[in-house]
Amino acid sequence: MSVLIQTRNLEKVYHRGGEAVHALRGVELEFHKETFATIVGPSGSGKTTLLHIMGCLDRPSGGTVEIDGISLSEISGSEQDRIRRNMIGFVFQEFHLIPSLSVADNILLPLLFSRKKPEPGYLDHLMETVGIVHRKDHRPNQLSGGEMQRAAVARALINRPQVLLADEPSGNLDTDNSIRIFELLSSLKQEGITVIVVTHNMELARMADRQVHFRDGRLADEPGRC
């Protein structure tokens, strides 16, 4: 399988109160297409920062990131918008659904920004896949945490992205719902999607094809590399 995401000597430095905090220190990583990988590590190890940079949400202080051969460090902000719109799907720990919109409208929201019309039946297919078709017209506040996260996964998939990035998707869920979400994410590689998930939960992380361990902004050992 070919490489989809590649980082070279990736650095990220934050300046807090005049002090430089190194979130990433020379990270070198490759993620292949159609894999399910998890990034694990203690809080502050730099795993979320890496996810944000790979997702064009943040820019590195040094080094390079490439997605499908496109160097993210060299493109403009609007190009980054386009990549987020067309290549990447995001799932956040706190779901980030828009409370004033129905579940269906939340899922369709990315299509508004990509100026695409929903493919006939695809919304229903997605909702069935994530198991919330009965919640189509409900508002997010009428959903359980697990349902909200499944709606967020459906929203991340509506634009048929090449890669899905999830930041602690089970962080606000109970065990059953966490397992369901991870099973759902794991199944996406069958659809040709590369899934990269940041998690604290080692048990869930083991469901992935590959686990990347982070410590102090650096890669630690990496069991199960594929």
């Binding site: 944000h52 997702g55 949400l57 943040d58 902000g77 609007s78 918008d81 386009r82 987020r84 719109r85 067309n86 995001f90 956040f92 980030h96 828009i98 409370p99 004033s100 919109l101 409208d105 369709l108 929201l109 990315p110 508004l112 920004f113 990509s114 929203r155 634009n159």
Partner: protein, 425 residues
């Protein structure tokens, strides 16, 4: 779902705040629409009314041109008068060019029985309808002698007066009713002393003379509603002036000759000025201009206040939804998309507020008109606020301009929110 639907849903989330913002826009646009409509309607009505007067040239003693306008339009009493010789000389000078003369004499008269101080407008009783062709009588008839009068609708309503009732004014003794100008006015009696039926003499030697109301004017919406119209002899008797008149109206055979007639009069007679309806129109328009400037200043002020309201409301929304905006950015929304969404909200608010303001101002026009009549010294009769699609469109555009100006800064702020900043929020 489109951008507009998303903006509408966002607006619906803060109903109370947006309702307050809408109200401020509604007021601004409503005031603008009313002021512009009223201004336009006023000018049209004024011109129509001035053209309808049967008098082409009005001669008054030299003084403030406003007084001449006031005189013809019933705004007050002019202290100076034209004397007998001057009037006779003007008539000789104008000669055949005149079709008719209309001497006018204004006075303020006290009716002790009603305890009212009336504005009494003296003119030839048989030619009142010529001077004021727009008048219609609600009841009765025009005066037929110098013992009968007509009154404005407000005078009748205020004191519950009807045709056949009487009004009493104190008149001076010894004033010949038709002294002076030899003007063939209404049938006027000779000496007042000879005509004392229904009168009583007081300790000062004056007479309290009663006049029968022969007619009541239909409401004109002008100051005529608050005046009493009497034969010329009556105002002479009230003022104790057997000769003077406040103004001499001249109806010309050829109205186009007015400029030459005016020039002849002003060259031939010192201390008089002659004006046409156009001059009066200009004078009244000048007076109205001050009110117009004040009104437009008010509109600007209200617009600034409502614009600030919109800006504040949208800016608060942006701050409250920072995380949502960041989420949308992370889902692929461009800066322009966020700018558009935020700007849409400002425009939707001002559009709805603008439409509501125009509707309310149109529906409330009668109330606004009666309110304005209480302030302006002269208001033409009839409806002055008439719905004009162009003014409505202009007002709506004004509202949208407020929306654009007020939405620019919040939209710029919103579009500058980065996904990472919002997610960390």
């Amino acid at each position: 779902m489109g951008f507009l639907k998303l903006s509408l849903k966002n607006i619906a989330r803060n109903r109370t705040r947006n309702l307050i913002t809408l109200t401020s826009i509604l007021i601004a646009v409503g005031v603008l629409f009313s002021v512009v409509s009223y201004d336009r309607g006023f000018s049209r009505s004024l011109e129509r009314e001035m053209r309808r007067t049967g008098v082409h040239v009005t001669v008054v003693p030299t003084g403030c041109p406003h007084e001449a306008a006031t005189l013809l339009l019933h705004g007050g009493v002019v202290p100076d008068r034209l004397d007998r010789e001057t009037v006779a000389g003007i008539k000789d000078h104008v000669g055949d060019r005149a079709e008719g003369y209309y001497p006018m004499l204004l006075a303020q008269a006290h009716d002790p029985r009603r305890e009212r101080l009336d504005l009494v407008y003296g003119m030839p009783g048989d030619r009142m309808a010529d001077i004021k062709p727009q008048w219609r009588l609600a009841a009765g008839a025009f005066p037929e002698d110098d013992e009968t009068i007509i009154i404005g609708s407000n005078v009748a309503d205020r004191d519950d007066l009807a045709v056949g009732d009487s009004i009493a004014y104190r008149t001076m003794a010894g004033v010949p009713a038709d002294a002076g100008h030899g003007i063939p006015a209404a049938p006027e009696s000779g000496m007042l002393e000879e005509n004392l039926e229904g009168t009583s003499r007081n300790n000062n030697g004056d007479f309290l003379r009663t006049f029968e109301i022969s007619g009541i004017l239909r409401t004109t919406g002008t100051q005529d509603d608050d005046a009493v119209f009497v034969p010329l002899s009556v105002t002479r008797a009230i003022l104790g002036d057997a000769e003077g008149i406040t103004a001499l109206g001249i109806r010309l055979e050829h109205p186009g000759a007015a400029t030459r007639v005016i020039r002849d009069i002003e060259r031939g007679f010192a201390g008089v000025q002659a004006v046409t309806a156009d001059d009066l129109l200009e004078t009244v328009a000048g007076v109205v201009q001050s009110a117009r400037v004040l009104s437009f200043s008010m509109v600007i002020l209200v617009a600034v206040v409502s614009g600030s309201g919109v800006l504040n409301s949208i800016l608060m929304t942006v701050f409250e939804r920072t995380r949502e905006i960041g989420t949308m950015r992370s889902l692929g929304a461009s800066r322009l998309d966020i700018f558009r969404l935020t700007m849409n909200e400002a425009l939707v608010l001002t559009f709805i507020g603008g439409i509501a303001g125009i509707l309310l101002a149109t529906l409330g026009a009668p109330v606004i008109e009666s309110f304005v009549r209480g302030f302006l010294p002269y208001v033409p009769e009839g409806r002055n606020i008439v719905f004009d699609p162009l003014i409505a469109l202009g007002s709506l555009l004004f509202s949208m301009v407020i929306g654009v100006l007020a939405g620019l800064y919040p939209a710029w702020r919103a579009s500058g929110i980065t996904p990472i900043e919002a997610i960390r929020n």
